[in-house]
Symmetry: C2
Subunit: 491 residues, 2 copies
């Protein structure tokens, strides 16, 4: 398997597009903007789902399922929400096809027009809050903390595999609370869950912050976010958690009887991460040889490749390798023993490098004689020879080490690419020459934010949580500014 | 919690509808025909998914994900397939909403009309086979054995929670093979997987068979099925596995290079089970007191209810119950200790009966003195007093016993309700008075099948696998018939 992968230096964007396809993660389908997630890519997503689902349940959330379709009138109930989604939604208008009368083929049956159009959910706040109205009467019904794993559709014009697709998979949490305080705590708890997941499982360091007003979710009072940094110096929003105030409760008339006998509107949060995380995973760690996967999410953690001539040698190798496979599996390590005779070892080495398998073991005639195994780690591409009886222990330690190493490497990169600037000229220069996050004073106005975006394509990624209060001057207008925010070009 | 559940004898259909809602499984949404699956219902579905997913993987299948939308032209490629689905599909025609110019609200933007309409998938053969064309070139690429967990939409006019909804959740397997023999073996293997799952996890006995031509899946050469029998004597198709021949490979031009250097069309199967299984689960075991859940799928296997007056007694009970909870969890038994002070024990007893929790433990002052626990099993409603130190062992055995008991009960019911008849009059009488499966000779023609359906509403559920070859006469026409088939009214 020749990789023929464009290098990152040559064309980062092309490198990414090629890698997603060549590593068998996903590909474009015949439906504009919709992707096919291939088995290897889906296996990674399943591991993400399993880890996140466990974290949600451990923090008191339950799963449920709400309809794919949202009546147009529901979407319209929260003004800023519909404003945010109306321009990019798939609309179902009919419920039947028929044979054309002129025999030209299958056409929409105009007699089967819906009275009210249905929108394929771009997100589910409206249908869920319409349901919550029936479920919530009293403080005893609160909090209500639900999540759903679902597909959603946003009609994006320019799409890229995983990063921006018309249909994508995600989870969306929707919670209802008696008090503002409790809802804010929930939004912040989920931000922590997201950050922990992304850092500990994906090995991707993130910055926690809140969005500016103009970058907020349509309908939110506050949007918390985690921002990651890709190797090309562009930021990627990896997850958002919204404090929705009483906006949806008011739009859908959801009130509860308080302990004291009053009637109050309910407080809400919503939060989501999507298959976009796959893009962050790929772009953070991978190199010119292909994917680099964190052991915690790798579908295959260890691959074993035999190097042999003839069935007899293979049998001799099998005698050593089979017990090794068993011993590794007993340690809950996922192992693939690739003894295909249709492909040469060199081809297999390339393939597993491209697919980011963290540890590769190879065993040949010489190893058999010496009682050794060749061990190669994907992150550093280092090779060592290990005594057969020490392999299991070595591999176990190495998986932990690789997980830590790729995180630390990404963390160093992130730290090196947060640059403080004090003038707009300096800002433009750093953005042009170095990229990354740029920390600068901002006067807090939409106008300045918009000007920077127009001038440079950089946006405010977030106001970092716990940002230091200072007396500064906005880098653009010179007006007083109380803290620095993080700008970057972003995916 | 008063149950106020209509009894089965009074109105079986009403009993079912009420039970689904009162047991917190699902409810109708504001979108016609689409349901909301509530957390308790979804927790059962998640357990089904987990068990099935494991079985699919153990038999060599991988998960993937294909687009929600199917271009109209794809659906049209396989003639009988489009014939089967065109009449009941949701059609996306536009991709944008806008503010009406007259200020009347949000309307479809006519400038954003799709060139080609998109169908919300009713099933995914067409989009998947369009993709397989790119993936399959050689015999080395075969077999390809994929599954996806997805939502699908079929615009049903009359809907019922779980049994028939416009949107439902399911899994759909789609496999590609080099030979006819291998594809048939796959379809039969999956039939066995389905039957094993439904019998061993759901505790629902099934009959394996094949469908008659007129009941076949649109595009299939052979449809294998498992048929279950509900307590009202109606059958329920619980799963289907289709041998598709080369129909889709021909429609989408999917050929592979054989070992010998030729070019052949690929052989296919597809197979699915859906949230409809929830309906089968509910209707097979439940009674006038509510749900009866098999321990293998119950989200809560054991509930513990303390009976006390005042905080002091509750503390004394907690001292005994907390270690019991720990001990049961160590055995991988899911336990809920319901120490809510907002509800009385009687209310809780009712609630857990309604929700079908297999084992209920109660402990009060007397039990505390005697070192005992009151144990109630949901399937038989029997109560016994058990010594505290024997509870864990007793519960463990009882969960197995309940699982077996509800299966055996359903199996006896099924066996008692398969009736052989030898004349059409007898057939009608049994159908009217007893219901269930009716085993009768059939001449093998569509016309006779249709006549029986028109006369009696009964359909041929299946030709059982391994049916005995006999010399018989069709009960309707008197023409020669070689075997008996199973008729029933069905969901």
């Amino acid at each position: 398997m020749g990789k023929n992968l464009t290098s990152r230096a040559e064309d980062y964007s092309k490198w990414y597009n090629e890698l997603v396809v060549k590593a068998d993660l996903a590909e474009n389908s015949g439906v504009r903007g919709c992707m096919v997630i291939k088995p290897y890519g889906f296996a990674i997503w399943e591991k993400m789902q399993a880890a996140l689902d466990k974290m949600f349940k451990e923090t008191g959330h339950e799963n449920a399922y709400f309809p794919l379709f949202i009546p147009k009138s529901y979407l319209s109930k929260e003004a800023s929400h519909v404003e945010g989604f109306a321009k990019e939604c798939a609309v179902v208008t009919h419920y039947r096809l028929k044979n054309a009368e002129d025999g030209s083929g299958i056409v929409v049956d105009e007699d089967a027009k819906l009275e009210e159009e249905l929108i394929v959910r771009p997100t589910s706040e409206t249908i869920i809050w319409d349901t919550y109205r029936k479920w919530i009467q009293s403080y005893r019904d609160l909090p209500l903390k639900l999540n759903q794993w679902a597909n959603v559709v946003r009609w994006e014009m320019r799409t890229r595999l995983f990063l921006r697709t018309a249909e994508f998979l995600w989870q969306e949490g929707h919670t209802a609370h008696a008090t503002e305080k409790e809802a804010i705590e929930e939004a912040e708890l989920i931000l922590k869950v997201y950050a922990d997941f992304v850092e500990q499982f994906m090995g991707v360091p993130v910055i926690k912050g809140v969005k500016t007003e103009s970058e907020r979710f349509a309908g939110a009072v506050e949007t918390y976010c985690i921002e990651a940094l890709m190797q090309d110096g562009k930021a990627l929003q990896a997850g958002t958690s919204h404090f929705l105030g009483q906006n949806f409760a008011k739009a859908f008339d959801v009130k509860y009887a308080t302990k004291e006998g009053g009637q109050e509107h309910v407080w809400a949060t919503s939060w989501g991460v999507s298959t976009r995380l796959m893009g962050a995973l790929i772009m953070t760690h991978s190199d010119d040889n292909g994917l680099v996967l964190p052991p915690n999410l790798a579908p295959i953690q260890v691959v074993i490749v035999p190097i042999y001539k003839g069935e007899e040698q293979l049998d001799a190798l099998r005698e050593k390798i089979n017990p090794l496979v068993t011993a590794l599996r007993e340690k809950n390590i996922s192992v693939k023993f690739d003894d295909r005779d249709t492909h040469k070892p060199g081809f297999k080495f390339n393939e597993y490098e491209l697919k980011g398998v963290p540890v590769r073991l190879a065993m040949g005639k010489r190893d058999l004689e010496n009682g050794t195994v060749e061990l190669a780690r994907r992150d550093t591409l280092e090779k060592t020879s290990v005594a057969l009886e020490e392999v299991v222990e070595k591999v176990e330690g190495l998986l932990t080490e690789i997980q830590e190493n790729i995180y630390n490497k990404a963390k160093s990169f992130q730290q090196e690419n947060i640059t403080e600037v004090n003038s707009y000229d300096e800002f433009k220069q750093v953005l042009e020459e170095k990229g990354g996050f740029i920390s600068a004073f901002w006067d807090g106005t939409k106008e300045t934010e918009e000007k920077v975006k127009q001038d440079t394509k950089a946006t405010i990624r977030c106001i970092p949580i716990g940002v230091k209060q200072e007396n500064g001057a906005c880098m653009v207008t010179g007006k007083p500014a109380n803290y620095r925010v993080l700008f970057a070009k972003a995916y």
